[in-house]
């Protein structure tokens, strides 16, 4: 099924008799494709509103991400949350859609400063499991009218409904960027440097740690970036190099897309922890390749794709220190025994089950996990 508009999509859901497999661009799925009748959202495409002076963009869910980014770039603006392109990492082809980005709450390095996808999302339209069209939020950035289902839909991976339209607050594209780098740092020194930078008034918009190197990014007007990069280097002490413009952008694309893991075998974990807990988590990952973002709070780990792929030890540690771990890439054998999503606490899981039963009473979207 490939409905051409929202009404057709709602009709398709009403007519469905069994599980539905919702596909935007198919670029972010974890694991093998779930069972169910294919429902493609690509027919719902197009940007219906873009007002640069109001920092607002509204698009149909099946609109290609690239189209949204190109239109914003023309207006000197961008999506604030730096959408990762995980096609290389996950071994997928296809065209990422803006609805898929929202369903995955896909957020890159700038998440620590500009927020996640859910923070920029200001409105949604979706079709629930009964085939009813529901709207929430709108096209204005300050809106507390009724419950915020916009947040609930962001990152819900299609389990509550099929997104048909999404609205964003966008931000100006800065004229300059620069990155301070320093190599040879152990995890403890790395997290200390990143915390010091993020606790400074110099508006760091990216803080990552890969292969012993810490990277700290600043963006903005040219004079401002020059000033802040100097002030931050002075604060951090000797040993930092400066990388500017396109070279700086390339460093962050690598972090955003987890490029060092691309083409390498193994299972891939994505962990979210309190930044200062990062060294403790890395100490468990002795046989892994790792990449840290979000000041140490986001850890990517590539581990041997066998047994439980270290699920027990990682999730055991997180049960004590807080945070969550998702298995983004693994063999079918590993995924057969390890839940890809981090198990929720019983009380939270009960609420999740309750919400899914309300929004999807026939269990049509049960395969979307």
């Amino acid at each position: 099924m490939k409905p051409a508009n929202e009404l057709e999509l709602a009709e398709a859901i009403r007519a469905a008799t069994g599980p539905v497999r919702i596909v935007g661009g198919g670029t972010r799925r974890v694991g093998p494709p779930p069972a169910g009748a294919l429902l493609e959202t690509g027919g719902l495409a197009g940007i219906s509103l873009y007002e640069p002076g109001a920092l607002t963009l509204v698009a149909a869910a099946g609109t290609p991400l690239a189209e949204v980014e190109a239109v914003l770039a023309e207006g000197g603006q961008r999506l604030p949350f730096e959408v990762p392109d995980l096609r290389g990492l996950l071994g997928r082809e296809g065209v990422s859609t803006i609805g898929g980005v929202v369903a995955a709450n896909a957020s890159g390095p700038r998440r620590i400063q500009a927020g996640a996808c859910r923070d920029s999302l200001i409105g949604v339209r979706f079709v629930d499991g009964a085939g009813t069209i529901v709207k929430n939020g709108g096209r204005v950035m300050k809106n507390v009218t009724g419950y915020d289902l916009v947040k609930l839909m962001a990152g819900s991976c299609g389990t509550l409904g099929v997104l048909t339209e999404v609205a964003f607050k966008v931000l100006p594209r800065p004229e300059a960027e620069a990155t301070l780098t320093r190599g040879g740092l152990d995890p403890v020194a790395a997290v200390a440097a990143m915390s010091q930078a993020l606790g400074s008034p110099f508006e760091v918009t990216g803080a990552a740690y890969v292969a012993g190197q810490v990277r700290l990014r600043m963006e903005g007007m040219a004079g401002s970036v020059a000033y802040r990069q100097g002030a931050l280097a002075k604060l951090l002490g000797a040993g930092w190099d400066v990388v500017e413009a396109a070279q700086s952008a390339a460093l962050w694309q690598e972090i955003r897309d987890v490029t060092p893991f691309v083409g390498q075998p193994g299972a891939v974990w994505r962990l979210s922890v309190k930044p200062s807990d990062m060294p403790q988590v890395l100490a468990l990952l002795t046989e892994a390749q790792t990449l840290c973002d979000w000041g140490g709070g986001l850890i990517w780990a590539r581990v041997p794709d066998a047994g439980d792929a270290q699920a027990a030890s990682l999730r055991g540690l997180l049960a004590q220190i807080g945070g969550h771990a998702s298995l983004l890439r693994a063999s079918a054998e590993v995924l057969a025994t390890v839940p890809a999503l981090h198990p929720e606490a019983p009380g939270v899981a009960a609420l999740t089950r309750g919400l899914r039963a309300k929004f999807d009473p026939r269990g049509l979207f049960s395969a979307q996990e």
Binding site: R139, V144, G146, T159, P172, G223, R228, L341, K358
Partner: protein, 477 residues
Amino acid sequence: MEMPKIDAAIVARKPAIVAALQEVLPPDAVIFDEAEVRAYECDALTAYRCPPLAAVLPRSTAEVSAVLRICHQMGVPVVPRGAGTSLAGGALPTGDCVILGVARMNAVLETDYPNRFIRVQSGRTNLSVTGAVEADGFFYAPDPSSQLACAIAGNIAMNSGGAHCLKYGVTTNNLLGVTLVQMDGTVLEIGGAHLDAPGLDLLGVICGSEGQLGVVTEAVLRILPKPEGARPVLMGFDSNEVAGECVSDIIKAGILPVAIEFMDRPCIEATEAFAKAGYPMCEALLIVEVEGSKAEIDEQLALIIEIAKRHNPVELREAADEDQAKRIWLGRKSAFGAMGQINDYMCLDGTIPVSSLPYVLRRIGEMSREYGLAVGNVFHAGDGNMHPLILFDANKPGDLELCEAFGADVLKLCVEVGGCLTGEHGVGIEKRDLMKVQFALEDMEAQMWVKDVFDPKWLLNPAKVFPLDVTASRRAL
């Protein structure tokens, strides 16, 4: 404003309910004397009052849980209350409810600078969160104008904003986790010091749910390093249209000021008479503030002033020092007081797409003449959040009703141009019956499913947010 009929059966059981609450709380934490409960009869929407059956002031999550378990078992509605500063009647009691006030829970539990968060009890006031970290160079960003008095619990319930959200976002963008007590007494930890949820973003829907999903007793809040400095520029224009175009051009130029405040002529005149801030007499006034080091501020302001000059301002005043900056903000910060000195006023809170600004202001002016009530407009222009202040005389019979009808027409206009009923104050009882203007029944139904799941008996703050006829069958459960 219609409220549900008081359940006489609950009122009749008051002695048993009070006795049960006294068993789990210290004596001074249960208020049931008819004169004493009057302290909780209203919030900042003072036009509506109703003393509750009783009020409780617990000191811990465990005490909150015990209170809710009892009320759940006995079928008693509970209205949570932060500091009682809601302008929407979010904490308005019913005669058969227990008010659960979190004011005594105001401790800082943990301050963590390396990870940039603070964990507080939810009764702590907004400004005192910043107060706890500012000596170390940090602040809590959301800054509702009631920030001296309002509690974090209420900020979370209403997803409060403030003047600086264009850059820093509102409460939901600065909230990392909560301890939530459900109506049946279950205590849940949602979120925490790490970012984002592994599954559904429950934190996102709890924030802004107006105390209908659970009682938040503790919160993990994001704190930010204080900028090196900030400086405002004031500009006056001879029409609202031109001021609106100037705002749009500043944003399109790629600058993101921390605040863009807008005042129209009636508001400028009232403010000038009251605060004597030295504002120019003109149709529209903008205050634009930017942050950073001195050099960064100079760079941004030069660009902003260049853009403003293209729109032929009648006044352009850059603050040369701290004192001049204070004078520029003085009028804006006294605007509500100035309007209040003229008469009683009702403060609206609709949001509109910024591009509709001139049209909406023109229509409000026309309606003002039709209704015969004066109105002044203060406006967070960067994000479209309007605060029209409608003047009326509370002692004149019929004036409040006239003012409410005018207010409703303004909010309908906000929705008509693509905006919404409330940008930061919340729905409460005030805008409850207008929800049908913005939402179809299906849209509200989906929202109410969330309450069905969190609070199946609909005992938490049940008469708020949704029109009473829409919730009638659920509340009767």
